[in-house]
Symmetry: C2
Subunit: 335 residues, 2 copies
């Protein structure tokens, strides 16, 4: 059983983009626009079609079994519009993920996005998390550490602002993947510097603040192999020693996925990060879609790198299957 902890619905049918385009147009014309949730015109056949030639085909081709699946991260767009904009959009996107998982219960397990409008209380996100987990069977959430889209003017993860969300994650016993959305700051490239910078920033905030000591059951997945952190493992260990930060305590709350698209990167990851803190992931279909001319295989076919890395069978079993079951206790494997 090979479980991919990091997949987004990046291939949604056209009705999704049409609904969002209309909403964005309305709130651009009138920033106070409320609108209505309305209906998203997407049929089950369109959903099947959008997945059969992409994620499902790639699961079969690459030999993974189940993908923990969430709305397209770059489309979360928390910086767009107001709280109503994000609430309606988020509800639709999460309900779409639920439909995907109902159509393919053996292939996908659902993770939600949260509304997270900048400047609004976190309670709206807590409510959507409860709805998704308690009413719709979701097993985790994506949390955007920078809903401003690259301006970083909100509260750091250690700020009391986030406390109600951390409490609810612990109460529901679900993890959060700390994952930004598109950058609206031209300094950053969304899937390059913004994603990787945010991953590094999230780990650093956990490490320097030690706030996870107040939440023994809080579990964060750091995507894209942890940004820059494993490559700079020595730097962070050394800074922790210099500053009396509890490195091991921080790491015990963090899981790094394997969305690192070359053998040398995966080899580094598995060499420095404890195996217990690594989850198989591919981010497929995601940021990089081509074939590596050096290998003849897709860059994001990360299972190949794990297969080739210097690991024992027990370690591979942990990374592919066991760890993710511990991190996502609500995950029910298909029988």
């Amino acid at each position: 059983m090979i479980i991919d902890c990091h997949g987004h619905y990046t291939t949604t049918p056209p009705g999704v983009g049409r609904w969002r385009d209309a909403q964005v147009a309305a709130v651009t014309a009138d920033p106070a626009h409320v609108g209505v949730k309305g209906a998203m015109a997407v049929t089950d056949d369109e959903i099947r079609q959008s997945l059969e030639g992409a994620q499902l085909k790639l699961q079969r081709a690459r030999g993974s079994d189940l993908t923990i699946f969430s709305p397209r991260a770059s489309w979360m767009g928390h910086h767009i519009g107001n709280e109503h904009t994000s609430r309606f959009w988020t509800e639709h996107q999460n309900e779409l993920i639920r439909r995907v998982c109902d159509l393919y219960p053996a292939n996908f397990a659902p993770v939600c996005q949260l509304p997270q409008s900048p400047g609004t209380p976190i309670q709206g996100s807590v409510a959507e998390l409860e709805r998704c987990v308690n009413e719709m069977g979701f097993i985790g959430a994506n949390v955007n550490p920078d809903p401003t889209g690259g301006f970083w003017t909100g509260a750091p993860l250690w700020d009391r602002y986030w406390w109600p969300l951390w409490e609810k994650l612990c109460e529901l016993d679900v993890p959060a993947m700390i994952h930004v959305s598109a950058a609206c700051n031209e300094q950053f490239h969304t899937t390059g510097s913004h994603y990787l910078g945010a991953d590094t920033t999230a780990v650093t905030q956990v490490l320097t603040s030690g706030f996870t000591r107040d939440f023994p059951n809080l579990r964060f997945i750091i995507p894209h192999g942890g940004g820059a952190v494993p490559y700079h493992w020595g730097r962070f260990r050394g800074m922790a020693l210099d500053n009396s930060w509890d490195f091991d305590e921080a790491v015990s709350h963090l899981w790094f996925d394997t969305c690192v698209y070359h053998q040398a990167g995966i080899d580094l990851l598995v060499r420095v990060v404890p195996t217990s803190q690594i989850l198989f992931g591919s981010e497929m279909v995601g940021a990089v879609r081509g074939i590596d001319p050096e290998t003849g295989h897709h860059f994001d076919d990360t299972k190949r790198y794990i297969d080739a890395a210097p690991l024992t069978d027990a370690q591979r079993q942990a990374i592919f299957t066991d760890n993710v079951q511990r991190v996502f206790p609500r995950l029910q494997l298909p029988s």
Copy 2:
């Protein structure tokens, strides 16, 4: 001959901090404060004392010969005060570096900081660069890609704003290390997420824009081992292929230093980055000052990692000596 491309004067005598504290106090009280350059009360003996027990001692202990030396990066503080604040401070800091190099010409070669106040024209930085190179024998400059200190509200490196500086660097045939200063945004930790995020951002801006094609002779040093980039070499190569960015052209303008504080990180760096684009560096005395309990040696004793990495003697010679001479053609080695 082992040349360390990345050292900052982090151990300055107390007169430096006193001068700066008084200046910051004055401009805090009155944001329009101009002040005067005045004198910085630092004696030659104090300079000697500040270096003998630190950088010079460590050079001898670790076996490096010459450090390319610049003002303390975290103290550049471009976000503080106004254009006068940064100009006077920068002139003093650069003149102090000149004094260090005059006192120890066999041990240090000078690199300057630039005034770079947010919202001011780049011409002030061009003028200081000319002064340092033409009048004071400097061989390179540090350029802060985010003078706002972690809010990233200025112009990206590809923006025409920077053109006069890039032209002057090419005309003078000196490289720039792209290095941020302290973060004043609480989201970021200065020497952790801010430094590493900025390194990744700088590389991404070069890669996605291709602006270096207009400056064949422009040479950027990316500190801290290139941030997240070597660890995600496959991701960036893949994104470049997907988007028709010229990866090799971008890399030809970039040199990555070896300020990566563990063996696994250095092994990755030398495995994926062409040897021609790697420069020995330690950032000593810098962000991490302790001893790694796993090795018994200082984290930032990076020469040990290069010595132990799977490299040929010719490759080591390139990283320790030859590459830096190509990147810094104005560097005159002590006879």
